[in-house]
Symmetry: C2
Subunit: 503 residues, 2 copies
């Protein structure tokens, strides 16, 4: 049988003509790292994304949009498929088009611009016959190199992708990520079952009666796959599973165990809702929270993040929004009018809630970056200082006492010391300071809340001094705790001679 | 030939009856880690230290003290031999006594108390015959376990000891650390030469005419050594080298290459002076310094450290001394008297110089610890804040302007932000912020110097505001630099399939 006709659409992002400074804050880095790569050096394989299918089952239930364009919490399914691979270190992509090729390609081109990555396109002429035809269409794009193969509508965790990347296939081998915990697979009836024997795939298919794992739809392939697909074609079988069966018949398919990693085939309206549920659950997995954050800020910020995820706001926009709200609140606190304190107190508490959204949006939209976390934490320190300064300034205008400024000054300094000591602790002792009671007492959520409540009650300076004293005590306790801390010693090889321990 | 008579003196440190809080700050940790060790677990081998010799050549030149009691920059040679092994992770020691056994044992017992480690003793009856007899005397103490063997008068780097520990001997093997760079060995005429062939010792002795390495005097031995020594004894040869020759004749001695590591046999008055020179050179290898530190503080603090090393002051004593001097200087700056500012300015600059001594003393006396560095850096922050507060307070008493407090407050905050951002940078981007011009402008040495000079010239507030503004600019520059920073991606295995890079 002849190979399917392919049409090439090579697409490479151009440098932006005008600088989008804020937008680029997070993305510049990934661009740079690929720019600096040695010519010809392959750090990670290309990922082939199959996006040719019709997605009939989801389409009937949701809308008439092609599946890759459907949005899951603000990101199209196409963007999620690319972003999750980018997060795992993949840098180059080849997308196989079929149904609604123009629309889908346009969406992926948008993704390539936003995420600053390289995407090549190929159109599978006979994608209707089966996804094996779509996979075969990618052959000219991958050459002799090993490549990842995944479906556009599969939600995967970066950890799962990294596990697969860490275990590349041999010269004539296909590796398939399998999940042994089939009982907990979503939409079990639709699962492609797999029989794994001694680490290799003995049988695969939805119709298997004995199996011990499920096919996750993530492959790490050598070009053996194309031979298998071509052979299946000659037998009139056109699905990817048919090609894998041919490879497995030669003993050429290895299993990579990814049991325990969350993955989801977003195929039906039910799976779509499950996908949103999982994205929301992942959003909640932030850093460790303090008391106020846990019971007040997070429940509100999560709802806000879900709403904000529909907008074009990036996490850095939200970081800056929260920062300027904090400054605005500080202006309110710096006056001598009690009604202005009430407004200022409410504004800084809202800013503290919004401050949780940047990380949440980043997790929802797969935009986490050290640059974003860096901006967030440093601006929080400036915000803290400004609020302390404002409260002290207002009090100094009302009272003539000589102690007001030194006391407010000392209280505000405790906020910076609190952040400083935990960073210093982490660097000195090679582990984060535990999120114990002391740590929770000195966290930002509590200090902003106490000052906000104090301001609303007409006593911002008292609140500042109370939380400042508490924070100083916590810092002192952390300082003293350092004398009991040890650095885990580096492992030293044990002597090969054996004998009873002496001394 | 009969084995030499041995006398056991098992010595184990007791818990101190009264708490020596400050002294224990650094040492508590090592005590804890050994207390928590599983019973019977051997993390590192016991180190046998030969301290039986007469040390005639050094003694004639220096004093009548036994060699292990001679002090090198404040630490006895005995304490250095134990401390350098402790720094490499060795926890248990066996010392072979001979000449002046009572005095030497007393010194090692003092070391065991100070350094909180376990030392066993054995007296070699016939140590005068040769150091082979001394080594043989250790046999009952090490049982069947592999052990390190070293001479009390050898200065070794912890890195060199770690290299040897990482390469334990096989069941019937002796490993000898060798230095291939024999041209740069101190006191070359006295060097025991070694011929290494394919990683094994083919010949050893001072009389060799062809050689390619030198014997460093650091061994990692199985009990094969005792067989070799006993065999040499039967031939009437009593040196350690004779025993090694016997082992090498069976092909049982492996070479561990430690070329490039500094080691020194402190055998003669010349070597003694060389040892002091090397300790002083190691003292200088601290963190990266700023301008004032490099050209003013360090040259003075090094001389001071050499003088202080003769006293019983620990690095933590000096940290606290510098901290309280800083507070004292701040009291001087907090008054409204210009003469008091001059005194305060001079005192804070001296405190800044003394602040360099804690790390230097720690390196001289092999007392470095993360706990000590932790105390030092956190107290420095409190000192900075107190000085800024004092200067602002004094100015607020003299001027009635409303801007004095906010300006002094903002300037002081920059000092904390400067320390905070570099720690945060290190945590976010997994590397220290480079010691570039920006970093040097925001370092503590410069800010204290500027305030001290300003105070002496009668303008402490101006100096505070100038250095505060400069520091804020540096912090802002560091904040902005974060957007260009990337985290080095974790290594991903390359695919085993080969082919031309695509895309």
């Amino acid at each position: 049988m002849a190979r399917p006709l392919v049409r090439f659409n090579h697409y490479r992002i151009a440098r932006p003509s005008s600088p989008h400074r804020l937008k680029n804050w997070r993305r510049r880095s990934s661009m740079r790292s690929s720019d600096n790569a040695l010519p010809g050096a392959i750090a990670t394989p290309v990922a082939v994304i199959l996006a040719a299918g019709e997605g009939r089952r989801l389409r009937s239930g949701r809308s008439s949009l092609p599946k890759p364009l459907v949005r899951l919490r603000g990101l199209s399914i196409a963007e999620r498929s690319v972003a999750q691979l980018l997060a795992a270190g993949v840098e180059r992509f080849a997308v196989v088009l079929g149904c609604d090729a123009t629309l889908v390609q346009h969406e992926f081109e948008r993704v390539a611009r936003r995420r600053r990555c390289h995407i090549s396109f190929v159109e599978a002429a006979n994608w209707r016959k089966g996804n094996g035809c779509s996979a075969l269409a990618a052959a000219p794009l991958v050459g002799n190199s090993a490549f990842l193969l995944t479906m556009v509508d599969h939600l995967l965790t970066p950890e799962m992708i990294r596990k697969v990347l860490a275990d590349p296939p041999a010269q004539d081998e296909v590796a398939l990520a399998v999940d042994h915990d089939t009982e907990n697979v979503f939409d079990f009836p639709d699962l492609t079952k797999v029989e794994v024997t001694e680490g290799r795939i003995a049988a695969i298919g939805k119709e298997l009666t004995t199996w011990n794992a499920g096919d996750t739809g993530l492959f790490y392939c050598s070009t053996l796959l194309f031979d298998g697909l071509a052979k299946a074609h000659t037998h009139g079988k056109f699905s990817l599973t048919d090609g894998i069966k041919e490879c497995a018949a030669q003993g050429g398919v290895r299993a990579i165990d990814v049991t325990g990693e969350a993955w989801l085939d977003v195929d039906t309206p039910e799976a779509f809702r499950e996908g949103i549920r999982r994205i929301d659950a992942a959003m909640a997995k932030g850093g460790e929270d303090g008391f106020v954050s846990q019971y007040l800020n997070r429940p509100l910020s999560r709802r806000l993040s879900m709403a904000l995820s529909r907008t074009r706001l990036t996490p850095n926009h939200i970081t800056l929004l929260s920062f300027f709200m904090g400054l605005l609140g500080a202006v309110g606190l710096a006056t001598t009018e009690p009604w202005s304190w009430i407004v200022g107190g409410i504004v800084i508490q809202i800013a503290s809630i919004v401050d949780g959204c940047d990380g949440e949006i980043a997790r929802i939209k797969l935009l986490q970056s050290p640059q974003g976390a860096w901006l967030d934490t440093v601006l929080d320190r400036y915000s803290d200082v400004t609020i302390g300064l404002a409260v002290t300034f207002a009090a100094s205008q009302l009272h003539d006492a000589v102690w007001v400024w030194p006391a407010g000054f000392a209280a505000t300094v405790s906020f910076l010391m609190a952040s400083y000591v935990t960073k210093e602790f982490q660097i000195r002792f090679h582990r984060p300071y535990p999120n114990n009671l002391i740590n929770k007492l000195k966290r930002r959520d509590l200090r902003i809340f106490v000052i906000a409540v104090g301001a609303v009650m007409g006593q911002p300076l008292v609140a500042l001094l109370v939380i400042g004293s508490l924070t100083h005590l916590a810092v002192f306790q952390i300082l003293v705790s350092g004398r009991h801390c040890t650095v885990v010693p580096s492992q030293v090889n044990r002597p090969r001679c054996t004998g009873p321990p002496i001394l």
